[in-house]
Symmetry: C2
Subunit: 496 residues, 2 copies
């Protein structure tokens, strides 16, 4: 058999193969390089129906080292996903450091399906677009490389493809009603997509368009686009060359009014043991009813406890849970993040703890560590804790929008009372595990914390997740106040 | 108001309070002590309908420090739970080191509901009882403290309770049909329970019975039982005083026949590039059909790849996945466990990676690390890797019983070929990340690995999860063989 070396088709194939070979080699090299820099990569695939996302993806997977790559397709959300805020399903799938997450279905899938032609739907669309922008900004800010690919495909190419498939009995089944509808609505869908793409094309989360008329050029262009983004990101990292945050010399208030609110609290509010006993029973009953009503309404209650060391968070939580059935609540004690948690965005470890609808979760310390200990100890850069206020508000708004009831407490004690409690802990055998050198170190930074707490209170006191500032020098008073505010807030949320 | 200090009721209450106070103090102290020894504690609550498990639990939670305690109630399994082997829902809820998991619903809930009176159901019951024994043994062997409480309640007490509840309009709604049925079937349920309790009362997983006629004595007895178990466990740990495993001097074969099977393989099987190309297309097509059929039948396929360093696992996996849609498979690259994984049983990290029904998961290295690297490097005690063969067989049987298809490969190369490949990796820029000092160190233990692999192959080659030994000196031959065996195994499983 003689080889037809010179035929145009063979030549084309040869040229293509050569290009592919070059792309593949650089692609895998950069994949390894980026993995070694512990970069998180999010790759979003979207585009016109029939443009061949699936085929392009399969080709790409053959070129990648597939072992650090995950493909995410959330087509049919599970009950566990539906029973949590919308973005939970994506948070749980986010790649950790050094990994690539390819989203075949993404936070765009739902939004792009909106077929808007009246004002009301347009308003809803704007809401979703805003949410997407926030989320991608959050990812990009935390150095996730976000690559968004739009597979473009003309109406006539789409039509030809459908015709071709329908003509062959072996492939006719692949043409679904959904595809036919998408073809008829091409113009309208294109307008919506154009709008969404324009509104979500932002620094750190740019769209790249890949022309998809022909499979081979499409796949090559797809890989090259990714390569270009990999290369640029790698250059940026190498240039940044791993600077680390340092402990600040002073903590300067952003919002002195917040600190003033703390100072204005009357910390020593008396409550006798007998008055406490009587009231406690009453409030336990009310709280119990409120929590049961929330469970019946499938509304999750998210409690957040913050406060100085020895402010009485543990004791208050214990009294709170005594009003609940042990099967219905879950306490998350927030300490140092695990290494899996460290390989993710700082909010990831809290997203992962969100329960299904109608349950209670109690955070003993929380995401507010970002703007307290991390700010004061310099565990993150100033730009990081500064933007955390917005990120946290956005997170709590998502909880609220899903129907969850967020109840936040700051337990405030005086410096003297803390001293007494530290001493008592050191002297009581079964309390000694609750006190260590770190507590004393934190105490030495009392005024820095006061400033940071003030800023936190001022900047994250929202209508959907207001702060309850609890004077806590008197434990009985504080515990009762915690129950009272919980009952009030849950009842109001259910009645509104 | 004069105090009626001497009234019998008050005296009783006082005596009770004094007892509670003593129990609480020791309970919380031991909770802290056991937490510091990083003990995992599983507490199972079961018993007669109406005996007051919920009330006892709520009381206990008020006495514990609730922050390291989790309550697990899996009453209505989610779709994510139903679409995985039965025990997945419990594995995902197991407490990590230093934590207590309280199972209100446990692996007993389902089993106890069986109302057996004919031979066939009895056989099924025996199966479940056997499974429970295996699971609890596995937990106890790995130093989990397993405490099982049975709340005993007589038929007449149960009847009185139901009558009392029904008499009061405010509580009548609490009496469900299920409870009435349970009351009528009391004797039969008691017989079944007696049988199950006897059959699952084993060393390391003993039942403790708590008489539940009256709430207060019941709660006290409940707490005291736990205390007794805590105390005994703590003593045992203090006595054992943290010995650690050491690297063995030699690896002695348990099953020389296994090693012989490896030595009998013809490693150099030729396959020309053109023959490979032709056959590859054919097998890719067949494999693709087999995987699609499995997905339609909602059968999960679990691939396990083991082999020496540079045996070609990555390449074989890449060829395998090229026959699949990127949305349908998931590759788990097994490296060092994370600290969350280290805080659990060694199988936990694999259980957590099991996908929902109808998907493909590919383990690039796997649970077999326990009997390979961990055995050879002395990362675990001999008793630990020795019992791992049984634990692994049991795990794979559970996968099989759920309908998953397990396909296991051992890729075998010769020492010379490994040397060539190591050299080539060192010399090719984009392969350098695949080779390091550890690979050379492993190579120096070639014969130890050969023995360990031989034992593994002999001891875990089961009918439900047989080993495919792949001669892999020729990459093309190995890759084709991997596809061929995958197709064969999946098709056979679907047709049987």
């Amino acid at each position: 058999m003689s080889k037809a070396v010179g035929s145009p088709k063979k030549l084309l194939k040869k040229a293509y193969d050569a290009k592919v070979s070059r792309v593949r080699q650089e692609l895998i090299q950069l994949q390894v390089d980026l993995q070694q820099t512990r970069t998180k990569i999010v790759l979003i695939l979207a585009g016109v129906e029939g443009a061949g996302r699936g085929d392009a993806l399969n080709t790409l997977m053959g070129w990648f080292d597939p072992r650090n790559v995950e493909t995410i397709a959330v087509e049919n959300p599970s009950s566990e996903e539906r029973e949590r805020p919308f973005m939970w399903r994506y948070w749980r799938s986010l790649p950790s450091s050094g990994r690539i997450g390819i989203f075949v279905d993404s936070w765009y899938t739902h939004t792009l399906r909106e077929e808007t032609d009246n004002r009301k739907e347009l308003a809803k669309l704007e809401d979703e677009v805003r949410r997407i922008r926030h989320f991608e900004r959050l990812l990009a800010d935390a150095d996730t490389l976000v690559i968004k690919i739009w597979f473009a495909f003309s109406k006539s190419d789409q039509g030809k493809r459908l015709q071709r498939l329908r003509a062959d009995p072996a492939t006719a089944w692949r043409v679904t009603d959904h595809q036919m509808r998408a073809h008829r609505a091409y113009q309208r869908l294109a307008r919506t997509a154009d709008h969404i793409l324009a509104e979500t094309d932002r620094p750190g989360a740019r769209w790249d368009v890949v022309e998809s008329a022909e499979p081979k050029p499409r796949n090559l262009e797809f890989a090259r686009t990714i390569l270009r983004r990999f290369r640029a990101h790698h250059r940026r990292i190498v240039k940044a060359n791993g600077s680390t945050p340092t402990k600040p010399n002073r903590i300067i208030a952003l919002r002195p009014d917040g600190r003033q609110r703390l100072l204005d609290l009357t910390l020593d509010q008396k409550l006798s043991a007998s008055a406490y006993e009587a009231k406690r029973e009453k409030w336990l009953g009310r709280l119990n009813r409120a929590v049961r009503r929330a469970a019946e309404a499938k509304r999750t209650v998210v409690f957040v406890f913050e406060g100085q060391d020895a402010a009485g968070k543990g004791g208050a939580i214990r009294r709170l849970t005594s009003a609940m059935d042990a099967r219905d609540y879950h306490i998350v004690s927030v300490a140092k993040p695990t290494d899996e948690e460290k390989a993710h965005h700082y909010l990831w470890r809290f997203w992962r703890q969100l329960p299904r609808d109608g349950r209670v979760v109690i955070f003993d310390r929380s995401w507010y560590g970002r703007v307290l200990v991390e700010r004061i100890e310099g565990f993150c850069f100033p730009r990081e804790w500064r933007r955390a206020y917005t990120e946290i508000n956005d997170f709590e708004e998502q909880l609220h929008d899903h129907g969850s009831i967020v109840v936040k407490y700051w337990l405030q004690i005086s410096k003297d009372v803390q001293f007494e409690r530290f001493k008592s802990r050191e002297e009581t055998p079964y309390k000694q595990h609750k006190i260590n050198a770190e507590d004393w170190r934190n105490r030495a930074q009392w005024s820095a914390y006061e400033t940071a707490v003030g800023d936190m209170v001022a900047l994250t006191d929202t209508s959907y997740a207001p702060w309850n500032l609890i004077p806590a020098n008197n434990k009985r008073f504080a515990r009762l106040e915690v129950m009272r505010q919980a009952t009030k807030r849950i009842t109001e949320a259910l009645d509104s």
